[in-house]
């Protein structure tokens, strides 16, 4: 894990409120990286004391000269990043967190990747990992949810992978592409259709989606790993700000830290 100044190398608008930002990284960054990990990134330059805290973002994609983040503008910090000039220096900290349990995902296993909204950033890192490690694409089922079709990101790339065996399903709230409704409708349907060959589910997205998914997984008794969000001050386990309740822990000390024990948790341990 590194604490490093990082240069904004490229910034690409994907939709009016999402963008991709390429950042430089230290030499051994890629070697340490586990898919699902995140960085804490400063949003204010050294002359601004506000916004004060760094912001957590999933490392979406490693690149030869650094890595990419995929960011949705929701507030002050993300708005500042959206308008950052190329060449600006950010202060970065990472990779942080545990990442997805890549060791437990066997190559012969059915894998269901479920991404809601900007949660795709984290899921892409896992998909990239699977491609890199030559997982058979026919075992991978990618399920995407968004409010509307224009908010579906990287969709052409995913389409191309279907030609190599990837299964792709899409749900939009307004039905402008794929299933009209929730991504969990698709998950539920697919779990029923394949009751004999249960996949391992890995997901990142809004909390209500994760909660629903966790329940579906229990019902279908699939292993299920969820990447959570939480308000974070430090990102490395010292402020105790990001805790969430964990069923397997002592009732006197029921917390796990999303930043340090997560962000990826076995759904069975969470109280969702």
């Amino acid at each position: 894990m590194f604490l490093f100044p990082s240069t904004v190398l490229q910034l690409t608008e994907l939709t009016p409120d999402t963008f991709r930002i390429r950042l430089s990284s230290p030499e051994n960054f890629a070697r340490q990286f586990i898919p699902g990990q995140f960085v804490m990134a400063s949003v204010a330059g050294p002359s601004h004391l506000d916004p004060l805290l760094k912001r957590p973002f999933s490392i979406c994609r490693l690149r030869p000269d650094g890595f990419e983040l995929l960011i949705k503008v929701v507030g002050r910090g993300t708005e500042i990043l959206q308008h950052m000039a190329i060449g600006t220096l950010l202060s970065l900290h990472g990779p942080l967190g545990n990442g997805y349990p890549v060791n437990v995902i066997g190559k012969d296993r059915k894998i269901m990747l479920v991404a809601g909204g900007i949660g795709i950033a984290s899921i892409i890192s896992l998909l990239d990992y699977c491609l890199e490690a030559a997982y058979p694409l026919k075992n991978i089922n990618l399920i995407l949810g968004a409010r509307t079709s224009s908010e579906l990101l990287y969709i052409d790339e995913f389409r191309q992978l279907t030609e190599k065996g990837l299964t792709l399903s899409i749900a939009t709230d307004d039905g402008s592409r794929g299933h009209r409704g929730l991504v969990t409708d698709l998950v539920s349907r697919q779990l029923q259709n394949n009751a004999e060959n249960n996949p391992i589910i890995l997901s990142c997205g809004p909390l209500p989606m994760l909660t629903a998914l966790g329940k579906l997984a229990v019902e279908a008794s699939c292993p299920c790993y969820l990447s959570l969000e939480s308000r974070m001050a430090c990102g490395f386990g010292v402020c105790l700000g990001c805790v969430t309740r964990n069923k397997t822990k002592d009732e006197k000390h029921p917390w796990v830290k999303v930043c340090h024990d997560g962000p990826v948790f076995d759904a069975a341990t969470l109280q969702l």
Partner: protein, 305 residues
């Protein structure tokens, strides 16, 4: 060679004036990837209680202009786990260790002081008096000079370790409280703890923090902290440790200038985990460039007229 060492009361010499603020530095170990713990003046631990405490429900933190609110609720692993699981690592790192602790009754404070007093590897104690006194109906120990003094008197009897009393800024007259704990035998005072604040969410129409209110920290509070440290330093004869919004070497120097013998960095450890080491180095550079060979010649050198 510049002499950066400072004396906190008779018993405690720090190699430099840069300490970590309780609750923002974990139990110390977590920062080893970023700095050498023994390069700091001292490591102050997360506040400990007799038994482990779960703390508050989340959400526990929220960012505010140039600061943050926290309502961690004094979550900690308890003194026993600290002594067995954490203190050895601090000793191994040859860190100067200050243990911050609190109780809900004077008895609890006393019991903790006694336990900590028997341990080797602890260099000083910091009593957090910004805690509700359950016996006094939840009034904070730290908001009343008499209550603060009786607490310090009681703890003082149980330990010969250097004793730092950490003051609350949520008071009309912090000088009277500092003077009271000085008279009660505190070797040192540290200030300020957080200011009570609140944030609300317009969408949900609810407080952001599950606890409703939280403690405000960070650069936003620096001017208030600096004023209080200045006032207290001029009214007590024991060393004062300055805390509140320190985010740079210059901030640290400002606290020393108004009379703090040492400083603690809190919230900004989250933003830059290496900041305490950077400030320690920065102070050395500043003294060097100012041709000051002993830091004591700089401390309290503010000119008022």
């Amino acid at each position: 060679m510049i002499d950066l060492s400072v004396l906190l009361g008779s018993g405690l010499r720090l190699k430099n004036p840069v300490m970590t603020a309780s609750g923002t530095f974990g139990y110390g170990r977590e920062y080893e990837p970023y700095l050498e713990l023994n390069k700091l003046g001292a490591v102050v631990t997360k506040g400990l209680s007799l038994l482990p405490k779960p703390g508050n429900e989340p959400p526990r933190i929220v960012e505010t202009p140039c600061g943050m609110l926290n309502a961690i609720g004094l979550e900690n692993i308890g003194v026993e786990a600290f002594l067995s699981d954490e203190l050895p690592a601090l000793k191994a790192a040859q860190a100067t260790v200050v243990v911050n602790f609190f109780g809900e009754t004077i008895d609890e404070y006393e019991e903790l002081a006694e336990i900590l007093d028997q341990e080797t590897g602890i260099d000083a104690l910091e009593i957090n008096i910004s805690c509700p006194n359950v016996k006094a109906g939840g009034l904070q120990f730290g908001t009343d000079p008499r209550m603060a003094a009786s607490l310090v008197t009681a703890v003082r009897r149980r330990t010969s370790l250097p004793l730092i009393t950490k003051l609350s800024p949520n008071v009309t007259d912090i000088i009277s409280i500092a003077m009271a704990v000085e008279a009660a035998g505190s070797d040192c005072v540290s200030l300020i703890n957080t200011l009570t604040g609140m944030a609300v969410d317009l969408q949900s129409r609810k407080p952001v923090l599950a606890n409703i209110t939280g403690g405000l920290s960070g650069p936003a509070i620096k001017p208030i902290a600096l004023r209080m440290v200045h006032q207290v330093a001029r009214n007590v004869n024991i060393p004062v440790i300055g805390i509140g919004g320190i985010s740079s070497t210059n901030d640290a120097l400002e606290f020393l200038l108004v009379g703090a013998t040492a400083i603690q960095v809190g919230t900004c450890n989250f933003v830059n985990p290496a900041i305490t080491a950077e400030i320690a180095a920065g102070i050395e550079t500043f003294l060097h460039e100012s041709s000051i060979s002993h830091i004591s010649d700089f401390i309290g050198s503010l000119q008022l007229a």
